[in-house]
């Protein structure tokens, strides 16, 4: 294994508690220990350890290329398909090692749903977009159950009232914000318990963004949500916990209010006040 290039700036000594969230005595949904990630010889993540709590929103922030999206994708093994990618360390969800040999990545991704920066509805009807995952997974016994689950998912994604009269029209005719909520409905249809969101509102206008943020707030009652965002105000508004990544390392992880009012690490302070670089 090649030695990773030395960071340009020396990292300050970090207090372990500020990185792992161990100070919180609450329950743990996702436990990551000593996780490193390599693209071939290049090490993209360095020894990440973190505890993510259930039914809360955890935001990952940091400059471009800091590894926050890569880390998000290790949580449902989306990086498996990247050629030459390699993972070290452990990711456990509800205590189960998701990188164990016996784990089927497809089944894992049913449990850990994902929504991407750019909405990507299938060129099918609104109904079929949501029904798709249910059909291929054989998750509905009959038409009535399928219809019920589609409606339930669209309601959860706060989209039902807007589309109930045009379920069989093309999803591509919807607005950008509606398309993104449709993708959320599609992810929810297979009843995951964790939802990963990679910049879900970065391509949306402020009103559509606000709807997504409100949706995130509602959804955390039923799901554990991890969101990657470039927008610090968004992280501050929607999340309960915030993790700050820099050069592939987890610099600080704490309650969101603490991170944005009195962070413990100088690097975090410089980043959230815009004094970076």
């Amino acid at each position: 294994m090649a030695t990773p290039p030395a960071p340009a700036v020396k990292l300050p000594a970090l207090k372990p508690a500020s990185r792992t969230g161990d100070h919180d005595p609450g329950q743990v949904k996702i436990a990551v220990d000593g996780l490193s990630f390599f693209y071939g010889e290049k090490r993209a993540l360095h020894d990440i350890s973190i505890r993510i709590h259930p039914n809360l929103v955890t935001a990952f922030i940091g400059p471009s290329g800091c590894g926050k999206s890569t880390f998000l994708r290790t949580l449902n093994r989306m990086n498996d398909i990247v050629p030459g990618a390699r993972v070290e360390g452990k990711v456990r969800i509800d205590g189960d090692d998701i990188y164990a040999d016996a784990v089927d990545p497809v089944a894992l991704r049913r449990r850990v749903g994902m929504v991407f920066q750019k909405s990507n509805p299938f060129p099918k009807s609104i109904f079929e977009n949501v029904a798709y995952g249910l059909r291929i997974n054989g998750m509905a016994r009959d038409r009535a159950e399928l219809t019920g689950r589609v409606e339930e998912s669209l309601r959860q994604a706060a989209l039902w009232d807007e589309v109930k009269d045009r379920l069989h029209e093309s999803a591509l005719a919807m607005s950008g914000g509606q398309q993104q909520r449709l993708c959320i409905a599609r992810a929810l249809a297979v009843r995951p318990d964790i939802l990963l969101m990679d910049e879900p509102a970065s391509a949306l206008d402020p009103i559509a963004t606000q709807r997504i943020e409100e949706l995130v707030y509602d959804l955390k009652k039923s799901y554990t949500i991890v969101i990657v965002t470039h927008n610090m105000q968004q992280a501050a508004r929607v999340s309960d916990y915030t993790a700050f990544f820099w050069l592939g390392k987890l610099v600080e992880y704490d309650r969101t209010d603490k991170m944005f009012t009195a962070p413990a690490e100088k690097l975090t302070e410089d980043y959230v006040t815009g004094r970076f670089g």
Binding site: T261, A262, P263, V272
Partner: protein, 226 residues
């Protein structure tokens, strides 16, 4: 990004300059009020009574600047704490200006009576209160928590002097009822000076919060030191 930061820093410095200006005016007015009392200089006392307008204008200006900075820049962490501290310091300084007027009012009444006694402790209280105010603002500008802590420690001296003044004047009032009215004005003045010290203490606490994110309010003296 760079440009935005410079702009924000510039605005923050402008805010700081205004607060210092306000602090300088407040301190000067306290000094004039006490000097007017000691030297029985009615013209000087009247200048204090009439001259509250500049502080009041700055009070509003600082509030507007803070409000604008919060709305337009959405500051975080140390920047956020600096603006919240500025909002609170602004209130304290405006109150100090009002207390200088209250001192001047009492001094004007006092000047219409024969002096009760030679004034020693009240001018000392005035000096301590002014020094506390000056140090608290210096600590704000220099981000100096040590100096802020010194201000917190000074507050006890003012409290002790106030108690001493009260006891002493009580004996005068008991001996000679004609001294009651002027002596009560002196007691009021000592109370106003003690309040000015409390405002300087509030400012020092805000400085500690701004610099180190530690909330040292409502703690026993000395506890804040870290």
């Amino acid at each position: 990004m760079e440009k935005h930061i410079r702009h924000f820093q510039e605005e923050l410095e402008g805010l700081q300059t205004r607060l210092l200006e306000m602090g300088g005016l407040a301190e000067e007015r306290v000094r004039s009020a006490v000097e007017g009392l000691v030297s029985r200089d009615v013209a000087l006392i009247d200048r204090v009574l009439r001259g509250d307008e500049p502080i009041n204008e700055l009070h509003i200006e600082v509030d507007n600047r803070c409000f604008k900075l919060l709305a337009l820049h959405q500051p975080m962490a140390t920047d956020l704490r600096a603006i919240v501290a500025a909002v609170k310091i602004n209130v304290d300084l405006e109150r100090v200006g009002d207390l200088a007027v209250n001192i001047a009012e009492a001094a004007r009444r006092y000047a219409s009576h024969p002096p009760v006694k030679k004034l020693i402790d009240i001018p000392e209280m005035g000096d301590i209160a002014q020094a506390m105010l000056r140090d608290a603002l210096d600590a704000f500008v220099r981000r100096d928590t040590r100096l802020a802590q010194h201000v917190l420690n000074e507050d006890d001296r003012l409290d002790d002097l106030k108690t001493q003044i009260f006891r002493e004047l009580l004996t005068y009032m008991l001996q000679d009822p004609t001294t009651i009215e002027p002596a009560l004005d002196l007691i009021l003045i000592s109370r106003h000076l003690e309040r000015i010290g409390d405002h300087a203490t509030n400012i020092a606490e805000d400085v500690i919060f701004m610099v180190s994110a530690l909330d040292v309010r409502h703690q026993a003296p000395g506890q804040a030191e870290s």
